[in-house]
């Protein structure tokens, strides 16, 4: 992280409010201490995030006294893009991928931190820690820069940028162990609680606000659930669980038989969907 701060003119940390972002932010606080991280946090808000995420985000920014930018793709809002009617694919494309590109262009950021990990998904296993993006924010997996030792090539031409993944070599278990060891605050949605959920296509969706319309035959039930990953609420599946402490979550992980991204509806859109999204500029 200090490498980025020292070598780039205008870096930014993409903060998604989730547990990985929480760890990444905590590392930044440590890396620059006693200084504050010399870059702003940016949240690309799709306007469909859980309300509790937004509340937690605002509290975190205030508590740490950081520069904060929220970006919403207004064009997408005007077009009425939403995950229910537009489909998860278009929604993610417009409100996340496009929005991120717009935001990076608008502020002219030349380096952006992200919390992605190599253990999350197959195409991410091959991602560099310093990942080069062309003028159009595209990723070319066949033309990645070799990364030797701890020497990172940070040179870019005007308009090009670098995505930086400091948590590349962390696993989901590492994240939770670190959160426990360092007592890092996380969004309460990770802990089990009675929440209003709807079962749709085999996945439990939390009815977070009135924008979610019930389909015929569906009903809202109060269930003891928690989330393993967080995103847009209509696209994030809950799991039934009684783990309401960090210890409980980690214990549950050892018995888990499904990988965390299964709760993400966007990955199953089509074959190799993550790789495709990344070539288009998704994180």
């Amino acid at each position: 992280m200090r490498e980025v701060a020292a070598e780039f003119a205008n870096p930014v940390m993409l903060y998604s409010v989730g547990k990985d972002s929480a760890v990444m932010l905590h590392l930044a606080m440590k890396a620059f201490y006693p200084s504050k991280p010399p870059f702003p946090l940016m949240h690309v808000n799709t306007t469909w995030k859980f309300q509790e995420m937004i509340k937690f985000r605002d509290e975190t920014v205030k508590r740490l006294g950081l520069d904060f930018i929220e970006y919403i793709n207004q064009d997408g809002v005007t077009r009425g893009i939403n995950p229910f009617d537009s489909g998860s694919s278009l929604h993610t494309q417009v409100m996340k991928t496009e929005a991120l590109k717009q935001a990076l262009d608008k502020y002219g950021f030349d380096a952006a931190f992200g919390g992605a990990r190599r253990d999350e998904e197959k195409s991410r296993a091959k991602e560099r820690i310093f990942s080069f993006r062309d003028r159009h924010h595209g990723w070319d997996p066949k033309n990645q820069r070799p990364e030797l030792w701890r020497v990172y090539n940070t040179r870019i031409n005007k308009g090009e940028s670098i995505r930086v993944f400091p948590l590349s070599n962390w696993t989901e278990l590492d994240i939770w162990q670190y959160i426990m060891a360092e007592d890092i605050p996380i969004v309460p949605l990770y802990f089990a609680k009675k929440r209003p959920v709807v079962e749709r296509a085999g996945t439990l969706i939390m009815k977070d606000d009135e924008r979610m319309k019930l389909l015929p035959g569906e009903k809202v039930e109060e269930k003891l659930v928690r989330f393993r990953t967080l995103g847009c609420y209509p696209l994030t599946g809950a799991i039934e669980s009684d783990a309401d402490t960090l210890e409980g979550i980690v214990t549950e992980m050892f018995t888990a038989r499904t990988s965390e991204r299964q709760g993400r509806l966007i990955d199953t859109d089509e074959k190799a969907s993550m790789e495709k999204k990344k070539k288009e500029g998704y994180f």
Partner: protein
Amino acid sequence: MNAPTDLQKFLAAQEKKSLLRFLTCGSVDDGKSTLIGRLLYDTKLLFEDTLASLEKDSKKFGTDGDNIDFALLVDGLEAEREQGITIDVAYRFFATDKRKFIVADTPGHEQYTRNMATGASNSDLAVILIDARKGVLTQTRRHAYIASLLGIRHIVLAVNKIDLMDYSQEVFDAIVSDFHQFSARLNFASQVAIPISARFGVNVIEKSKVTPWYTGPALLSHLEVVDVDTALADTAFRLPVQWVNRPDLDFRGFSGTIAGGRIKPGAAVAVAKSGRTSKVTRIVTMDGDLEEAVAGDAVTLTLADEVDISRGDVLSDPGARPTVSDQFAAHLLWMADEELLPGRQYLLKLGTATVPAQVSALKHKIDVNTLDSHAAKTLALNEVGYANFSLAQPLAFDAYRDNRDTGGFILIDRFTNATVGAGMIDFSLMRATNVHWQALDVNKDARAALKGQRPVVLWFTGLSGSGKSTIANLVEKALAAEGKHTYLLDGDNVRHGLNRDLGFTDADRVENIRRVGEAARLFVDAGLIVLTAFISPFRSERRMARELVGEGEFLEVFVDTPIEICMRRDPKGLYEKAKAGKIKNFTGIDSPYEAPERADITLKTVESSPEDQAQGIVKYLRDKGYLG
């Protein structure tokens, strides 16, 4: 595992586990990905949904009939699935009760050897796969050599697909003996050979009954216990300064990751380059000051004295300082399609310092099959050479064998910004420490003042026949008529003398321009207005020539004449010959010309006469104050 007490015990055990980073390498289809898939599968690290998707994929893409094809688990990218080979380095994570592992799955295909080097640079051990049916191949030797070159001291020779050779001990022994003949010349501390079948799990996790003649450990058992401790914490203290931490005027800390040794408050440190020393006062972290920090820790130090330190400096043990020099010898692995050009300027990044550098002499390249040395003028993709480097500024470094972090560097192309080479420093060339610049009493300013002018290089560049020499000649005549002191270096004339030993390959063109740049530098130092008329087709070399002289002492003049017109003029009949194939490497025909992006002066020769162009340049010089 339900009670928190068990969990706490488990977590405590997790923290104590050591981490082994290893890479798997081998030739195409030796079964690397299958082996890693097998390790993940048998250590029960696959989730149900991953497994379900694997079963689905196996039916679609699988090369193993209805059986699960483990390779599909790790071959993540679409292109790889279609071609059935791994094209990039992928990192995988798994753990057993004894150790945590990070595996770099690296490509077998020759064109991706650089990715193998990448994986090797961060690994402590290499698992080299050999197909029992094929034995030791060129790629096997190459990979063993690169692993050794990048400082890996421990290897495992996994003789895979032994099931297809009826689990034969003779086959296994022959391969191992073949390999040892080669590897005896490499610097490995431990070599263990294991007969395996990744597909059927033979000797991967547990020893199998089908190879009763094999008395060694199973692969995983070996990986769990092999001792790879390099004891970096016991080497000399090194902290490459990454970032100067200055939250306010009262605090000034130096942040970085310790690359060697250990440090305590009160310990003396030296700034390698300037030689200044001070004492560490605090090791600052967010969770309170530390009593000690060791290699691998990311820390912020404060010092007792106000010492000038910036990013790129190395804090070190005053009793065991790194070498400081602007010349060293190093092994170089070339990683770009475009070949290495000795003499061309690249950026060299070592630790946190980046400086312009060039290969001053390519000693030889190394045949990875025989380990023999051969004379070479350039290095192509995936070739390894041994070269002398010359840097624009001195750097602090160690030999790579002593410290990977302070002895390994990358080379970056100045225009594409691609990482083109990886280097491992062997030793400093002491020449640099003994030859110092001689400071002379009569200097450039004094010589220029005598002549009533400001020295400058007018660097004419353009295609053959564009009019460079003609216009440069007219400019010199006009300046001489005004009593100015000039010298014209002309491409053809220089090739009759100073550069008569050079041809027209890319490498020779680079050296040609380097010499001309140095000659121009001397003439500028003599106070002259220098005119050079060379095609000088590459941006890199023109930039190198610019950087040899001071700010404002270099004017790039682009003689912009379209190639059709040059061909029509063809004053020396060269285009005619080139088109007929009688001249090779002719700029504009079968050798590229990189036009300047921001020339100081651009001349459109089709729009006015050479005389007018020359007058324009003289006026430019007068307006800018070069003519006194």
